[in-house]
Symmetry: C2
Subunit: 319 residues, 2 copies
């Protein structure tokens, strides 16, 4: 039995990892400020005697350090993931993600925790020039405050690895779908269609090409990497080899709901300022360790939508 | 006449740029907390009626914003540049450099300043695999908190450029030498030789290969780029095509001083944790705009040393 500490432990990815680790016989401490995390995501975890929850913020360094003491491995998933609205509150990504990540690695140094897994993003490649985009793509130019804050987090973790001997696993995610998904395009489209099943606004021209990954494939990849990768700083793209256009994804959603809304496009190749019109990551590195994605994008979209339909409380809890 | 705002305006590079801009007929506001900047560096500038100095910290957002109002272009040179000792106070680079840079671009947004020039570092390439290293080298892994904080600053500036229409000039410097130089290997070697002319400790094996640039070449390059580059986000390496080993540089210093100290090497290919054993930047991009470096590395080392010998007060002011 190992002891894992999960920041953002009540979030979509964090709570899913908690359930998995507990099922594997490990002990888990979930740390979350519940700003976007959901206490209900931890209903299963709470049934385990190997689980504990700490209600705390990454910015509260003392609480964080006290909670982390005695844990060897940290999954750092807590983040402001409100990607689209970074420009409306420019310091939020800096404080929650960059300074938050600093507080995590600093707490690790002070507690003696030796291994970190970090949820970065494929958006750190900015407007990539090569698709699929490999981990060693050309030095990127950032296009959003969210991605800039994740890049800053990567750099901090790498510098701590070099300076203090911490082992690091950095995962650059595409968008993750599946059970407990609680923000993003499926969420937004579904909510809009609940409001008005006859017409729907689509941000951009609907042709943005995005890759997605199901949560179970994502967790499989993380565990595969942490089991098999040998480096001190290990960077992995996590994504599928295919993508879909926003319109394709909306087709799946509309079919599932039996709707044929009129689509109103806001126009332009980006959904919002800083949106990447094309995200497709080269996952050769993680696949070379034996991992592969099992659930297709349409299947992942369908499962996500079904989950949201069965969990209306989640729709209502987020504004 | 344009109005320029210089953070770190009392520092080595900032005060040199201030003098140059004033001589060119522009107005300059120097902003500095004088933690490492030197009031004496501004003796010449203070004689100009187009110059003003504001004693302030980047962390004081209100003072910064008030001081910046009415300026179109910002040179952001303020930084904790205490590269070697990042691990002794891990939050200093984060606060001074990353959060400091955020405060600068946020003040620009609120003031309507449209153009920023930023002193980044060639250290953002980490342990580069290609030499000379071009701006679009492979996505790097950071090896020091200092470089991580500069990378974070680059990302923030780029995201502000994408989100708020600010124009950005990001300069990745090699080490800069010349008049007003006040920290780095020439400073350290000279001080050690003042203490003991008979023997000297050399960090690492003395074979670290470093490129240097003289301050006048550096300022020429910055002004060339800002005059001629057309992009919204312009990234330039600034450095010479050659390098010298630490031992070569010490030879120049010893010759100049007429000393032959015994050299005691601490050993290892790095001078300290996070030190890059080889820095050589590909400056093709800035050279394509017509710039070239005029002063050789040995000449730059000699001028730096002469400056320090004539300005003993500077040796005494820094500990």
């Amino acid at each position: 039995m190992k002891r894992f500490f999960i920041t953002g432990g009540a979030g979509f990815i964090g709570s899913s990892m908690a359930d998995r680790l507990l099922a594997q016989g490990h002990a888990v401490t979930a740390y979350d400020n519940l700003s976007t995390g959901q206490s209900r995501f931890l209903e299963l975890a709470r049934k385990s005697e190997n689980f504990q929850f700490v209600h705390g913020d990454l910015r509260d360094q003392e609480t964080l350090r006290d909670a982390m003491a005695g844990h060897e491995t940290v999954f750092h998933f807590a983040a402001n993931a409100d990607v689209r609205f970074g420009l409306q509150h420019p310091d939020r990504d800096l404080q929650n993600n960059t300074v938050g990540t600093f507080n995590v690695v600093e707490a690790m140094r002070l507690c003696g925790a030796r291994t970190i897994a970090f949820s970065s993003t494929g958006s750190v490649y900015g407007d990539a020039k090569v698709f699929p985009t490999p981990e060693d793509a050309a030095f990127p130019i950032q296009t959003s405050l969210y991605a800039a804050s994740k890049l800053a987090g990567e750099g901090l973790i790498q510098a701590y690895a070099a300076g203090f001997g911490i082992r690091a696993f950095i995962f650059r995610f595409v968008s993750i779908l599946g059970e407990r998904y609680s923000h993003g395009h499926v969420f937004d489209f579904y909510r809009k269609l609940l409001d008005n099943p006859n017409e729907i606004e689509v941000l951009g021209n609907g042709r943005q090409r995005k890759s997605y990954l199901h949560i179970t494939d994502c967790l499989d990849a993380i565990q595969t990497a942490m089991e098999l990768a040998q480096g001190d700083v290990n960077v992995f793209n996590l994504g599928r080899d295919d993508y879909c256009e926003v319109d394709d994804s909306l087709n799946v959603i509309c079919n599932e709901l039996g709707l044929q809304p009129k689509r109103l496009y806001t126009g332009g190749e980006r959904g919002w300022i800083g949106d990447s019109p094309f995200i497709l990551l080269d996952a050769t590195r993680i696949k070379s360790l034996g991992w592969s994605s099992k659930l297709s994008i349409p299947e992942s979209v369908r499962r996500t939508l079904r989950y949201l339909r069965e969990n209306q409380w989640l729709m209502e809890s987020r504004h």
